[in-house]
Structure formats: C-alpha cells, structure tokens
C-alpha cells in the first residue's frame, strides 16, 4: 500500500507511454490478451450487448405480455420447452423478461457510467488546471458529495420525483462523480507541470485548448477505468431501488424481476427459476466491469515486480 511502500516514487509509477492510434488500439487489445479475466469480462459485456440489441429476435414473447389460454392466464408455469424459464405469477414469460432486462441494465449502466465519467473528468480537469477558488469550490462540492449517503439519497430522489430509470441515473450522476473528480484532479496537478504543457502555453495556445487537447487525452484512460466500475454500481443501484419498490413500473429490469418475484412469494413456491437468473445476470455484469477495470489498470500501471 502506498502508505507502506517507501519505494513508491512518481517515477516508479510511470505507465507505458502510448502514442498514435495504432498503438492505442494495440494497447486496448493487449489489455485483453494479457489478462484472461479482462477478456472474460469483455466477452460477458459483448454477450449482453448482443442480447440487448437482438432482444426482439431472441425473446419468444413480449416481456409484459400476459400469456393466456382460454381466458386463463398461464401463471407460475415451471420451465418447459415453451417457456424456457417458466412464467411469473401473472403469466409472463420469465426468459423474455430476462432478455429485455438486459437492455435496461446496459442502458442504465452505460448512461450512468458516461455521466459519472464525464462529470468527474470535467470537474477534475477544471479544478486541477485552474486552481484557486474554482478548485476550492469544486472540491468542496466533492466533499459534500462524499458526505451524503448514497442509496438513501437515490431512494429519496426517486420516490419524490417520478419513479423512472432516468431519475435513478440522475441520482447516481449527482453523487458518484466524486471519486473520479478527485483522482483526475490529482493527475492534472502533476501533468500540468510537464514540459510540453509549458511549451504549448508559450506557443500561445489558449487555456481550453491546452485543457482539452493536451491534458485531457492523458487523463482519459483513468476516466474509462472509473466508467467501467460505475457500470456495475449503476446496475446494482437500479436493482436495489427497484427492489425496494421505487423502480420504474413500465420498464422491465432485472431488479424489477427480483422485486416481482419477492412480492409474489416466489420463495415460498420454490420458484428458483425465477429468483436465480436475474440475480445471476446482475452479478455477471458487475463482475465483468471489475475484470475489465482490472485489466486496464494492469496496462496503465504495470507492476514493477511480477509477484
């Protein structure tokens, strides 16, 4: 840990230099080549993205469609060739819900990730570069964001405004940028002392130009890193909020499925085919985020000693 290792010096932390598009692509590929788990993570994401995009073709039914026969709803059917994962308490196909749920998960995940990474990066850039009162103000905001308990705030916001997934994303964007912001700011502080920045300044480049064209690109991998973690947090948060009953009732998500199962006494019925798959999907998508993040980190901050 940094506290312990006196051997930690800035120089020792130098990550691999990357320049040029080709090398960038190669770096990305190498992430996955080197770290098997990162590859697994990427595959999981790719799988979910494909499922989400091809949902209308994969899912045999519409997720909220009640399947009936002669006026009787086919409720609580166990898994069968007709219903791969059985049906819910109100006659809906669980497999179809799972498939369409991936759309919500990815939508919420990516939106929140983009929002968090974007806000955090911009805040970090501006605070680090300009310094002074701007810096102080932004960091005070970050302090406040750190002091607010996360899930309770999401609950309060979602309950008071409409229960919709965009409000969940909003609540996450309001608080989760704090980690990214601080870290990027620290980075910027060190980067802006670098020679090439001074050179750019001397040659008359404006502040914004320096900020976004020279400094930002170096910071971006870190943003992507946090972004990939944020995807996982976002999916988990959406699931928790739905589970507590504050979710969006028009949108089928994995959290919604779990809440539906919970409320319909699926446990007492022993309906494991209903309870397990959505939770498993959530778990996999969050893990994928961790793996990819770890893979990037390996590349960006390579270990000095292979331990």
């Amino acid at each position: 840990m940094s506290v312990q290792s006196a051997s930690l010096t800035p120089a020792a932390q130098e990550p691999r230099p990357v320049s040029g598009l080709a090398q960038f692509v190669q770096m990305n590929l190498e992430v996955f080549r080197r770290d098997r788990m990162a590859l697994v993570g990427a595959c999981i994401y790719l799988f979910f993205v494909l499922v989400a995009l091809l949902a209308p073709w994969i899912a045999p039914y519409s997720p909220l469609e009640v399947i009936q026969e002669n006026g009787i709803w086919l409720a609580n059917e166990p898994p069968s060739p007709r219903f791969y994962l059985g049906t819910t308490n109100l006659g809906r196909d669980i497999f179809s819900q799972l498939v369409y749920g991936s759309r919500t998960a990815l939508l919420v995940g990516f939106s929140a990730a983009v929002a968090v990474a974007l806000i955090g990066t911009v805040v970090g850039l501006v605070a680090g570069y300009y310094g002074g009162w701007v810096d102080t103000l932004l960091m005070r905001l970050a302090d406040i964001a750190f002091g607010v308990p996360f899930l309770p705030l999401v609950i309060v916001l979602v309950a008071l405004l409409e229960p919709s997934i965009w409000n969940i994303v909003l609540a996450m964007a309001l608080l989760l940028w704090r980690d990214t912001g601080r870290v990027i700011r620290s980075q910027v502080l060190t980067v802006k002392e670098r020679a090439f920045v001074a050179a750019a300044r001397i040659s008359g480049a404006g502040d914004l130009r320096i900020l976004f064209l020279h400094i930002a690109p170096s910071i971006l991998p870190l943003s992507f890193l946090y972004g990939s973690l944020a995807i996982g947090w976002a999916i988990l948060t959406e699931a928790s909020v739905s589970f507590l009953g504050f979710g969006d009732p028009d949108v089928v998500s994995w959290g919604f499925m779990l809440q539906d199962a919970f409320v319909s006494q699926a446990m007492s019925r022993g309906a494991y085919y209903w309870i397990v798959p959505p939770g498993l999907c959530i778990m996999l998508s969050v893990m994928a985020g961790f793996f990819i993040g770890r893979g990037y980190e390996e590349i960006l901050f390579p270990r000095l000693r292979r331990s």
Binding site: V3, D143, G147, P149, A239, S240, L244, I275, G279, F290
Partner: protein, 332 residues
Amino acid sequence: MQRSVVVYLVGRIAQSLLVLWVVVTFLFFLFRLAPGNPLVAYIDPTFTEEQQQALMRQFGLDKPLSVQYLVYLGNLVQGELGDSFFYRSPVIELVMEVLPNTLYLTFTSLLVAYGVGVVGGILLAWRRGSRLEQMGVTFTLMTRSAPEFWVGMILLTVFAFNLGWFPSSGATSPGTLYASEWDKLTSWDFWRHMVLPATTLALYLHGLPLLLMRSNMLEVLDEDYITMGRFMGYSELRLMVRHAARNALLPVITAMALGVGYSVGGNVVVENVFGWPGLGRMLVRAVAASDYPLAQGAFFLIAVVMVTMNLIADVLYGVLDPRIGAGQQAQH
C-alpha cells in the same frame, strides 16, 4: 499534538458540519418542492376546512417556505427534529430508538467482514497461485458483485424457510421484553436474529478487506526484509503473521472506519429484506408514506453516522501514518 495537525482536524470538523448543513437544506427543500400534497396521507377527507387548517398549523405547513426553513434549522441546532406526520410524536425519539439496532448490525457485520477478510487475505496471499487462491478471489468478487438483497433472499429461503435454523424477520422473538439494552445485547435470542442479516452484509463487505489485505501482503512479501527472514530460517507462518501481516494491516484498519459510511447503502436493503428494525427500514417507510420530518430525521442521522466515521478515519490515518509525524518533525 503539532499545530498543523490540530488545524487539520479543526478544518475537517468544519467541513463535516458544512456537509451536514448542505444535506439538511437539500432534503428540506426537496421534500417540500416535490409534486403532490404531503398531507394527503394525513388528512381524512371528511375533515372540515377548519380542521384541515388546524392540522396544517399543527404541522407548521401554513407558513411560507423560508420561515419553515429557518424554524427547522433553529430547531435542528437544539437537537429538535420536529414531529413525525405519521406518528405525531417527536422524530428524535423515533430515530434514536432504532439507531442502536442499525449500529449493532453494522458493527457486527463490519467486524465479521473485516475479521474474515483479513484472515482470508493472509491465507490467499500465502497460498499464492494455488487453486484455493483462485477460487477464493472469484468467490469474493462474486459476493461483491451480487445484489445484497438477492443474497439475502437466498439465505432466507435456505436457512430460515427450508431449514428453519434461524428466524426470518425482526430482532426479537414475539413477546420478549428486555429490561435494559445490556440484557438485549447479551441475549442469545437477539444474536440468533442477527445472524442472517449480519451474514448477508458481511458477505458483501468482506470483499474489500480481503482483496486489500491480499494485495498488501503480496507487496510486503516481496520486500527485502521478508527475503532476509527466509534466509534466516524463520518459518513461513511466523513471517506471514508477525512480520508481513502487521505491516499490511494498517490501511485495512483505517479502511474499516470508512466501511461504515460505505455500507450504509447495504444496510437499507438488508434491513428491509429481514425486517430488521433499524434506520434504513424507517427511512424507506417514511419516504413511502410522505412523512417528511421522519424521512429527513432518519436521513440526517444516517449522514451524521457516516460523516462521523469518515472523520474518525481521517483522524486515525493522521495519527497512524508515520509519514505525517515524520514529515512534521522534519519541518520543525
């Protein structure tokens, strides 16, 4: 204490107060500006106009927003959190009654999580490269990625409903009255009720200390003095525990204080699944019932707990980090 450390501490305390003030203000306006009439849940439609007005006066809702806010702040400073719309009794009493339950659950879970995490981290670092390590890391990542309520639901089904080993809800068995808090804490029944919710939380929380400990251990194990120790013939076990672990442990300890803050989210969900009578459950119920004062009070208390633990963590870090002390002395 050195002066700069004192200054640092004062600064941190001031900052914590600022955070709390912002939280309180934000909540206050958020609740009152939200759509819908808050009193719908509390005014019986058969009330006459005067009765409704009287009720609004009682809740203090007839005054303009800014006045309400100032009154609220003034009360807050005196420790008065207003009256719950739902219970019609002081919020401070209601939340203080359930606060201990949340604290017991949180601390127990943290202790278990960090205990298991630390030991597990040492173990996995020791058995580096083995299948045990791979399985261990995977398992930990899995529990960190799975939704807590889902894990809770499964534990509930298996251990409470199917096997019947543990009770499925609440903190006490029906009809039990404890003479004092101490009696409750030392009763077997109470702990039996705590097992499942604490296990659920601990499963989620143990990931961080375990992985952190493991990675610290791995670094430390590469240090020169460990290699020296090996040459000198010390046993692996002794090296692990007496030398490596001690050094790797420090950050984990400080992280634990922060664990409270970050586990607050998990608390809310777990309390709901297991019907644990704590702050999280009270918050959810208050929000759903538009009981603004109670929701504000519960939220505020959660924020206070979190901010306090962050503060303690900072102080701990400041005290424990040798660099700070060393750096200070070097300057003076």
